[in-house]
């Protein structure tokens, strides 16, 4: 047997379960707004943006430091000078082969001209003696202006110049020059007048 108490609870539950209320406003638009702001896509985008920024910054800094001139420039000067010397030495070796061929031809010609004189002329020695000074000297002159800092070169040269020697005056000559000042001035004028110096006079 149902009591009134059970009946009331049951009635309330039944009514509430069957009831549907239509919203008074557009709730979906507000839900959509809040959802879009909470979606993780935006976070991913921020991470991507941050990663791109870091990458560009890193690459930029690397290129900047690579392109920056080094502070130890005097060493560079020395190195370039050494390199020039090395190049000067090496280049003739590379050109030896064609030179040797040319000289061989010359040798054959010489042989035909003077068969009696069987002097063996070494091709390498001839080539080096004759061609090197003429051909390679201009290369030296062209390579020197390629040095990056002329100022530093100038400084380096100035260091090599000899320091002026101090002139020490003998005290007796100094005393003599003071005592016979007039005579000395006359000789400076250019006149070759012979003067007599009276050593006894004061």
């Amino acid at each position: 047997m149902k009591t009134s108490k059970d009946n009331m609870e049951w009635q309330i539950k039944k009514q509430m379960e069957e009831r549907e209320i239509t919203p008074s406003r557009d709730l979906w638009s507000e839900i959509e707004l809040q959802n879009s702001s909470n979606r993780p896509r935006l976070q991913v985008n921020w991470i991507l943006i941050a990663a791109c920024f870091l990458l560009t910054f890193g690459l930029g800094s690397v290129f900047f430091f690579l392109n920056q001139p080094s502070e130890t420039q005097p060493e560079n000067v020395k190195k370039t000078a050494k390199n020039n010397e090395e190049e000067i030495i090496k280049v003739p070796v590379q050109n030896n082969i064609p030179l040797a061929v040319e000289n061989n031809n010359k040798k054959e010609v010489k042989k035909t001209l003077s068969e009696d004189n069987k002097e063996v002329i070494s091709p390498v020695a001839v080539g080096q003696n004759k061609l090197l000074p003429k051909e390679m000297v201009p290369i030296k002159k062209l390579e020197i202006p390629q040095i990056s800092n002329p100022r530093l070169m100038a400084k380096a040269d100035s260091l090599k110049t000899p320091v002026k020697k101090k002139k020490y005056v003998d005290p007796s000559t100094l005393l003599f020059s003071v005592e016979h000042k007039d005579v000395i001035e006359k000789t400076k004028d250019g006149s070759n007048v012979a003067t007599t110096i009276d050593l006894n006079a004061k």
Binding site: T3, S4, M8, M16, E17, E20, P23, E30, I31
Partner: protein, 186 residues
Amino acid sequence: MKLLFGNKKNDLLSLLKKQDPAAQKIFYEQNVKRFLSVSKSYVSDLYQAEDCLIKAFCKIFKHIESFRGESNLESWARRIVVNECLNFIKSHKTVFYLDEINQSFHEDIHEPEIDCDFNAQELLDQLPDAYRMVFNLYVLEGYSHQEIADTLQISMAVSKTQLFRAKEKLRKIYFQQQKKVKNENV
């Protein structure tokens, strides 16, 4: 289209887990009216009930991946709506729970039979918040007193007292309304 005509809950759930906006809208349209009714039974003001529902839907869509399929999706979502309403009441209103009363006093109540012709929402709206929360959780949601005690952070005895007083209050309100109607007819 498949969701609209096929009505497969598993497909809807998988799409909801992928945060598909179309699936979310379908789920919203399927449940908004019933969930608003649930929300309104806890929060008497319609505008505030709608606010609670918006927050609840956002939570449902956000934490859908934590749903393991052990229960029905609708009942899981309804629980979130209820929790959101309870949080709203706790944060916006001061709720007072009255002292315990004797257990024997609960059972010995005999009232005349009640007609089916009454508005349940009107009765619930006149209940104090503490009574309404316990009554709704016990009667509408089917919570036990232990679950109510855990949810509202009160003792089981207080939960039972609140339920008893809520029922008593409802009967009083109902009979007062009946008297008014009879006097108006006479």
